[in-house]
């Protein structure tokens, strides 16, 4: 959340918003009561959770990962906990049940 709203003198004419994608400043993590946790050893990098997340709050990153059975992946799927609202779609749709929804504790 922006700490201070701009005064009318500071606003652009027409009050247009000049910064694309600026809603990123607003973190929605407090909506979450359940937290998705991805088991990187189980994950088969199918992209399904990434594609269905409404926020988006699943990142597809070029970060190599080697599983406990020595399988190497070039991509890692990671939850962006700043924005994840805990809807559970990713866990519901993961074909290998690699995502667990665990109670959020603060």
């Amino acid at each position: 959340m922006s700490s201070r709203l701009p005064s009318w003198k500071e606003l652009p004419i027409g009050a247009v918003i000049l910064e694309p994608g600026s809603s990123r400043r607003y973190k929605t993590h407090e909506w979450r009561t359940l937290r998705p946790v991805i088991n990187q050893d189980k994950c088969i990098r199918c992209r399904i959770c990434w594609s269905y997340c409404p926020e988006p709050a699943i990142l597809e990153v070029d970060k190599p990962y080697v599983t406990s059975t020595n399988r190497r992946y070039e991509i890692t799927y990671m939850v962006d906990y700043d924005y994840c609202k805990g809807c559970g779609i990713c866990a519901q749709e993961c074909p290998v049940k690699a995502i667990e929804m665990v109670p959020e504790v603060r």
């Binding site: 918003i17 399904i48 519901q92 749709e93």
Partner: protein
């Protein structure tokens, strides 16, 4: 025909930013994320008031990466028509390079499209503007508290079609918005569903490659309005297709192509039972809905010239 797209073809780059206030599990958010991935970056989006608009543009912030214009509830298509005409004039006056491609997309909810915005939409389609109109259909006026619209399906509970001694949910049938668009002889119409994202991406991309007025009708599950747990958004969207309640197809210059064939349908009950808005339905009402679905399937199969959507499996 070109190769069918897969999930690997969806661009990684996000054109719809997080931080929006759409509900946990909102189907429309998934739609907007993938629609914007398929649009050229200079495309101007004109958006009617509704859930998507109010939750993505809380001043002074926005979730949109494209040039984006808010317009009233009833006139997204009229506003988009003006933008498209202005681009032509600016080119004529030399204020915009003649070769610069700036396309226009209008987005509205079902209330803003089937009901109050239908006159503006008809005008846009009739005048032949080069605009893609996308209606995300969550089957009621959700932003203002789940009032029924012309897109609310038979039997559904809403706050204005309550369930009690006198009423038993919506008693009218959903309007055929694709039929209404086709009556304007437009070059392209299509239906999309958030459970089938490569299909959605391909259709938005194709629509943008066609000059003239186009309409895409998008299935848009709504957690509080349809009364289900947020994790089930995609499950419900898939079940809509598997039961024939929703059919993914496109009609290009009069030729219909079903993009998600369903060899064996599931009974429509499987779709209805996932949602609280249908909880009150009697067996007789469910049979009525099954009959409506059978009729629509027969109609689509007839247009396709073959049985692309099969019978209900026993």
């Amino acid at each position: 025909m070109s190769r069918a797209l897969t999930i690997r073809d969806l661009p990684r780059e996000e054109r719809f930013a997080p931080g929006h206030r759409m509900c946990q599990g909102c189907g429309a958010a998934i739609l907007m994320r993938h629609i914007t991935k398929a649009l050229p970056k200079d495309t101007i989006i004109v958006q009617a008031t509704g859930c998507v608009e109010v939750t993505t543009t809380l001043y002074p912030e926005t979730s949109w990466m494209n040039p984006w214009l808010h317009i009233a509830f009833e006139n997204a298509a009229a506003g988009a028509s003006g933008v498209e005409a202005a681009i032509k004039v600016l080119k004529k006056k030399g204020q915009l390079p003649p070769g610069k491609e700036v396309r226009v997309v209008a987005i509205g909810g079902d209330g803003g499209t089937f009901d109050i915005g239908i006159q503006a939409l008809s005008g846009m389609l009739e005048r032949g503007h080069d605009i893609l109109y996308i209606v995300y259909d969550n089957e009621a006026y959700m932003n203002t508290g789940i009032q029924r619209s012309g897109a609310t399906p038979f039997g559904a509970w809403t706050t204005t079609t309550p369930v009690g001694k006198v009423w038993h949910g919506e008693w009218r049938r959903k309007k055929d918005i694709i039929g209404i668009a086709l009556a304007h002889r437009v070059p392209y119409v299509a239906t999309v569903n958030p459970a089938y994202l490569p299909d959605l991406y391909a259709k938005v991309s194709k629509a943008m490659s066609i000059k003239g007025p186009k309409l895409i009708h998008a299935f848009s599950p709504c957690v509080p309005g349809w009364r289900y747990e947020p994790a089930l958004t995609i499950t419900i969207a898939k079940m809509a297709v598997q039961t024939g309640m929703w059919i993914n197809y496109e009609i290009e210059n009069g030729v219909l192509n079903v993009t998600t064939p369903v060899p064996k349908r599931k009974p429509v009950r499987e779709y209805l039972k996932l949602q609280g808005r249908f909880r009150h339905l009697t067996d007789e009402e469910i049979n009525t809905i099954q009959k409506f679905v059978d009729e629509q399937v027969a109609y689509i199969n007839k247009l396709a010239g073959k049985e692309v959507i099969g019978p209900v499996e026993a």
